[in-house]
Amino acid sequence: MSKIKSYFAHLSTASKVVTILIPALMLVFEIEGLLVFEFDMLAFMMAVILLADILTDYFCFGGIYSKDGKVQNFYKISPKGKDVYMNVFLVHGIKRILLYFGFPLISTSLVFLLGKQEISLALNGMTMAGYLLGTIGTAFGGYAYSLIGSLISRKWDMVMVSFAIAVWGTSFMMIFNLIKMWSPIHVKVIILGVLIVISVAGTLFAMWYNRKKLEDSYYDEKSFKRNQSGV
Amino acid sequence: MKIFQNSDIPIYQQIAEQLKSDILAGKFKQGDYLPSIRGLAKELKISVITTMKAYELLEEEGLVTAVQGKGFYVNAQDSQMLKEQHMRKVEDALTEAIQAAEIAQMSDKELIGTLETLISMKNAQV
């Protein structure tokens, strides 16, 4: 509980609202889409979630990897700073996994619960296996993009960089959606395999990198320049 | 208390002098504690070490006594002793003046005349 509290303290009020509201809102839209428009909008929903997630990431960790960042010092002078720092990343990571895998799971369960699977299957004559592969692929695709996107965007403390990465993310999801619909099943399997590898490797890398960034800040920079003010 | 930061007289001496005259004037009674070193430093906007040095000066002169952890309290002032102490100071200063007058080849008369002039100037100021 205290870990979640630490995480939320790192979010601005707007980011807190977005974190809770967007997935809930998207679920409502998804149900509405299924019932009213007879259309499965999972990919669109995931695109919006990706957009919201990367922007929230900025308001939590923007610039935390930047070269002249001193923020690690703020944690390092606290008796429990190291734990808080790592816990915040941990909660953020878990939230991400829940978001990118939980949402498609709930959404697809709803499709079946409401008996609307025919809508998706009718589209381009998809098979059940193809449909499920596509859905799992969407989850891994969104997750992998958000991992890599945030690793890049945290290098700068510029909202525009995060915004650009977020917008590209939505385009990525749209293109991904087209590939998902029209690619034959063996291509889907290959893409999914690649995405799983990227996701797992990315998660491990992010965990390692967060700790490394903190540990490194206790020691010398590799290329030390004497005349820098940080002597 | 007035502190002149740009004066030739070191600040700790200024403080010591003023506390001394306060003690002699009876503003601090026997057994009274002087303001705490760090409190006075804060009030006067000067460093702790400066007030500390002023208090040590007063202690050396026997006006106050330091108590570990409690501060400095004012001693019983022996007025006769104080007077003698001051007289000794006057003698010292005048001896120095006489020596300087010898170097300047002033006559005794001129020296006494200078002293009288200075006294009348001081009285005129007051």
Binding site: S78, P79, S217, Y218, S229 | D8, P10
Partner: protein
């Protein structure tokens, strides 16, 4: 004078490329404000970072507020007693003041929210006098960012403040306020609370400095209570004719076409007897400059 130490350092070394911090022994007295003075690159930030636990790549033994740590061990206990502000802002720019308040509370059990708000007011962080929690760190000026760090640090219950260049980004009025704050902190501890700060603004901080440590090229070249230093060194002024004769005994000399002035060790004053010179008690600034210049010269000759 018998004093306890807030910090005792033994055999401290830390090597960078082309730079070595080397302090065989150093004591920082308890109950006083100690200034760390030195040129850029003298090793001030490195020393303060080691003491605050922000750097761990050093060798040596440190005893700080009764806690011992050595050779880069991280000591969480001592951090409960230390408040620290860095030379640069250590909050993320997009954090709001409310977030800074909440996060500081999360990181430090002794953080007092009400006191934080009160100090924010005292330090005039918000121009209109109302606590504006939604204000973002990046919207604040460098001086105000420093004030916000100071507020976060002072709202805790600490025994030692370590501040790296706190005066630099502040305007003259705020520097005065900083001095008052330091004196108030020391007074509140009745001899138990100490302050250790680095500064380039020696003149502005002179009347809050009890003990001075002067560093040069990674070494401590002078350390002592300011009142003692002012007796150890004497400011000498003289006419032009005297300059050549006096020069060998002076620490640092600045001269113009009419005369010269320099700092002389009190013990060398005998050598200057007979010359028509006038003497003065030097300011801490004058002592610092003289000691730094003299040591730069010695170092240069060694190379």
């Amino acid at each position: 004078m018998v004093t306890e130490n807030a910090i005792t350092i033994n055999n401290l070394t830390k090597s960078f490329k082309g730079f070595k911090l080397e302090i065989p022994h150093l004591e920082i007295p308890k109950g006083f404000a100690t200034a760390l003075i030195g040129e850029n690159g003298a090793g001030k930030t490195t020393l303060l970072n080691i003491l605050a636990g922000v750097r761990l790549d050093y060798k040596g033994q440190i005893s700080c507020m009764g806690e011992n740590f050595a050779n880069g061990a991280d000591n969480a206990k001592v951090k409960e007693k230390i408040g620290y502000t860095g030379p640069g802002n250590y909050y993320l720019p997009h954090w709001t003041v409310n977030q800074v308040e909440e996060l500081t509370g999360l990181l430090f059990d002794d953080f007092n929210k009400d006191r934080f708000r009160q100090i924010c007011m005292e330090l005039a962080i918000f121009p209109d006098g109302n606590f504006a929690g939604k204000k973002k760190v990046k919207e604040l000026s460098d001086g105000t960012k420093m004030k916000l760090m100071l507020a976060g640090m002072l709202a805790r219950d600490t025994d030692l403040l370590i501040m790296d260049e706190p005066a630099s980004p502040l305007d003259p009025v705020m520097r005065e306020k900083l001095c008052d704050t330091i004196r108030g902190y020391i007074d509140s501890g009745a001899g138990e609370k100490s302050v250790f700060f680095s500064t380039h603004n020696v003149s502005d901080m002179e009347y809050v400095t009890d003990y001075a440590i002067i560093m040069e090229h990674g070494q401590v070249v002078e350390a002592g209570f300011v009142e003692d230093l002012k007796e150890k060194y004497i400011l000498v002024k003289g006419d032009k004719e005297m300059e050549q004769a006096a020069r060998p005994y002076l620490y640092s000399v600045s001269s113009n076409s009419y005369g010269f002035e320099g700092i002389c060790l009190a013990e060398n004053m005998n050598a200057l007897a007979g010359m028509n010179l006038s003497t003065e008690r030097p300011s801490l600034f004058q002592i610092s400059v003289a000691v730094m210049k003299a040591n730069s010269r010695i170092m240069m000759n060694k190379r």
